[in-house]
Amino acid sequence: MKGKLNAKYIAECGLLLSLAVTASYVETLIPLNIAIPGIKAGIANCVILFILYRHGFLQAVLISLLRTVITAFLFSGPFAFVYSFSGALVSILLMNVLKKNSIFSIYGVSIAGGVSHNLTQLLAASFVLTASGSGIRYLMTYYLPVLILAGMAAGCLNALIADTLIKRIPDKRKQEG
C-alpha cells in the first residue's frame, strides 16, 4: 500500500500539499513577527503533523519538502528557502524518530519538531549570512532562547490542532479495511 503511485495516492498528496501551502499562506497574513522578527506560528506544521500520524512518514516528508519549495517560489524567496528547507527536513526526521519511540505523545513530538525546525533554521541562517563563527555565537546567545520558547509554544498549538483533527476526522482507509 505504502509508496504505491496509484491515482488515489497522488490525488491525496496533491490535496494535502495544497492544504500545507495554504496554511503557509495564511501564516504570512498573521503579523506575528512585529514583536519578534522571524517568529511564525508554523501552522503548516500541524498539517505535516497530521500527515505524519495519519498517512505515514513517506508522505509527510514528501509534502513537507515540496511545501518549502512552493512557498519559496510564492512568498519567501531563495534565502528563506534555504532556512525553511533545512528546518523542515530536520524537524520531520526528528519527529518521525520520536513518534516511533512512542514515549512521547503528539505534543512532545510537535514541540521537538517546532524547536528543531527553529534551531536548524538558525544554524542555516548563520552559515549563509556569516563567514566566520563569531556571528553564530552572537545568534546563539541572543536569538536562540527566543526561538526555543517560540518553537515550544507553536509546537503545543500545532499539536492541539493536529490532535483534535486526528480524533475528529475519521480515517477512511481504516474503515475500508
Binding site: 505534543y107 514541540i111 556571528g135 536562540l144 526555543i148
Partner: protein
C-alpha cells in the same frame, strides 16, 4: 473536554527546553553588557545583500547584477574598506577605512552602500 494525552516524557522535554532557553538568556545577558556587536551590511540599491559581523576577517566580492560591476569588500581586524572596484570614479576605494557604527562606504555608480550598524537590530536582516 477530555484530558490531553500528554505523557511524562513530553513534560520532561518541555521543562528541559525551558531550562535551556533560560540558561541561554542568562548567558546572553551577561555577555551582552560588554559585547556590543557591530555588523557590516552591504546594501545594493537600498536592499540588504550581505551581512558580516565586524570581527570576522573576510575578503569578498560584491557583484552588482544590473551594472555588471564588482566591489571587493574587505573586513580586516575590525577595519572595513573597499579594496578595489571597477567603477569609473573609484570614490568608494578612496573613502578609505571605516570602523564605527553608522559610518558608510558608498559607491554611487553601483548604487552600493556598505554600512556598519550596531548590534541592536541585527536580527531584523536575518529574518527577511
Amino acid at each position: 473536554m477530555k484530558k490531553l494525552p500528554v505523557k511524562k516524557a513530553d513534560i520532561i522535554l518541555a521543562a528541559f527546553l525551558c531550562l535551556a532557553a533560560f540558561l541561554l538568556l542568562l548567558v546572553g545577558g551577561i555577555q551582552g553588557r560588554h559585547q556590543d556587536a557591530l555588523w557590516v551590511r552591504g546594501y545594493l540599491d537600498g536592499k540588504c545583500v550581505c551581512e558580516y559581523p565586524i570581527d570576522c576577517d573576510i575578503k569578498t566580492t560584491i557583484r552588482t547584477p544590473d551594472q555588471n560591476g564588482s566591489n571587493v569588500l574587505v573586513i580586516d581586524q575590525k577595519k572595513v574598506y573597499i579594496a578595489s572596484a571597477d567603477c569609473p570614479g573609484q570614490d568608494c576605494v578612496k573613502m578609505g577605512i571605516i570602523t564605527k557604527s553608522g559610518e558608510e562606504l558608498i559607491c554611487l555608480p553601483h548604487k552600493l552602500v556598505i554600512r556598519i550598524e550596531g548590534g541592536d537590530n541585527a536580527i531584523d536582516a536575518i529574518s527577511q
